[in-house]
């Protein structure tokens, strides 16, 4: 459970220390409010806490400009990198909700239903976020596509 939470947090934040801070806060908060947990899936519950904590964290960082929500703004591409870095870079271009959906479904293997519960939105919203996230990441990974500018 904890290794998977760490993986999700790492991909979500793209920073190992911030990710582990998030996991720690998640666990502490979960333990602290265990009595508030009225059945259900513990795994989903932990991912929910982590997702919300990260949202709060990002809100507190709002003074920083958002991380390149559009590919066209991705002006800091610095040459060729391995596939791992590319996927991380592509993730960084997603807005938070889309990144979260993408990771929960594709990396953590959650069902749409679980993701809908975690994000507190209808399944339809999960699916549209997922579709947009996939299209966006695909475009980001595929520098050859004429519709996109690859900044060198």
């Amino acid at each position: 459970m904890i290794p998977a939470l760490r993986r999700y947090a790492r991909a979500l934040t793209r920073d190992a220390d911030i990710a582990d801070d998030l996991v720690q806060d998640t666990l502490v908060r979960a333990l602290r409010s265990e009595r508030l947990f009225l059945g259900g899936d513990v795994r989903s519950w932990l991912y929910t806490i982590l997702t919300n904590l990260n949202k709060n964290r990002r809100r507190s960082l709002a003074r920083r400009p958002p991380l390149m929500p559009l590919l066209d703004n991705n002006a800091d591409a610095s040459g060729t990198e391995g596939e791992g870095r590319d996927i991380a870079r592509a993730l960084s271009t997603l807005v938070e909700e889309q990144r979260s959906v993408l990771l929960l479904v594709m990396l953590e293997g959650m069902s749409y239903r679980e993701v809908a519960d975690i994000q507190g939105v209808p399944i339809g919203t999960v699916m549209s976020r997922l579709a947009r996230a996939r299209a966006h990441v695909r475009a980001s990974l595929d520098g050859e596509r004429p519709a996109l500018r690859r900044v060198k």
């Binding site: 904890i2 290794p3 996991v23 806060d25 502490v28 996927i87 579709a131 996939r134």
Partner: protein, 254 residues
């Protein structure tokens, strides 16, 4: 199955890749993809994307979990305790995460904390030195002691069971705003701890530590009752005792 009648939607393509599609529809989608190479390529790219994600992040699963994330470590702080009390102690422990602690309830006004703590420490100093008459009702009459104090004080007074400590007994005291109950415990080595409770204005507070003249006290309030656990200057030891008291009050009151 080369010409499925029902058109395949974008949602269905995603559901297909994510194994969310009803089994009976999979054949249709596969047939449709066979006839639409561009779409098939797109679906394939999603699979590659998932592989890239796993290739990039699965190594985290094999890393040793850092000590600070070990659940045993975190559990060692009992939950309710963690929730409300010794926020200060834990602040250093959690502060790194940038998520502030929300203390349970508002901190008591300094005057409440001070007056209760001073009264409790006065009683503590006055009675712990007594050899022959430290208490009015001896610990051997625990049931009677609890009933009597409960009746006089007006809330459920329980003498907690504290590991390694024997209940010497208790007495009734005048408190800041009415009667106060006073319980004394003793270790085999003669170390004494007292538990002072009195009605408080505040519903609940976080824990406060105070050290005065070599005697330490931990104060908190819960459900309108203030608690002060007093003992020696060993803060760690005092915290252990206070924690045990806190936990048992939680259980009995819950």
């Amino acid at each position: 199955m080369t010409d499925p009648k029902i058109p395949v939607t974008e949602d269905e393509l995603h559901a297909y890749v994510d194994n969310e599609l009803p089994a009976e529809r999979r054949g249709d989608v596969e047939a449709w993809l066979a006839a639409h190479p561009d779409e098939a390529e797109r679906v394939q790219s999603w699979r590659a994307m998932a592989e890239a994600l796993h290739a990039r992040y699965d190594s985290v699963l094999d890393e040793a979990v850092p000590k600070r994330l070990e659940i045993e470590r975190l559990v060692r702080q009992p939950r309710r305790w963690v929730y409300g009390a010794i926020a200060a102690t834990l602040a250093a422990f959690v502060a790194g995460g940038g998520v502030g602690w929300i203390a349970r309830g508002v901190a008591a006004a300094p005057s409440t904390f001070q007056s209760f703590t001073l009264d409790a420490l006065d009683a503590h100093r006055l009675y712990v030195v007594e050899v022959r008459h430290p208490v009015e009702v001896p610990g051997s009459e625990r049931d009677h002691l609890q009933q009597w104090l409960t009746k006089r004080c007006g809330w459920d007074v329980r003498a907690p069971e504290l590991a390694g400590l024997k209940l010497v007994g208790g007495r009734l005291l005048p408190g800041p705003s009415g009667p106060a109950s006073f319980l004394m415990y003793e270790s085999t080595s003669g170390e004494r701890f007292t538990v002072y409770t009195a009605k408080a204005e505040t519903e609940a507070t976080q824990m406060r530590y105070s050290l005065q003249g070599g005697d330490g006290a931990l104060f908190w309030a819960d459900r309108g009752v203030a608690y002060v656990v007093s003992g020696g200057s060993d803060r760690r030891r005092l915290t252990q005792v206070a924690q045990a008291v806190y936990d048992q009050m939680e259980k009995s009151g819950g």
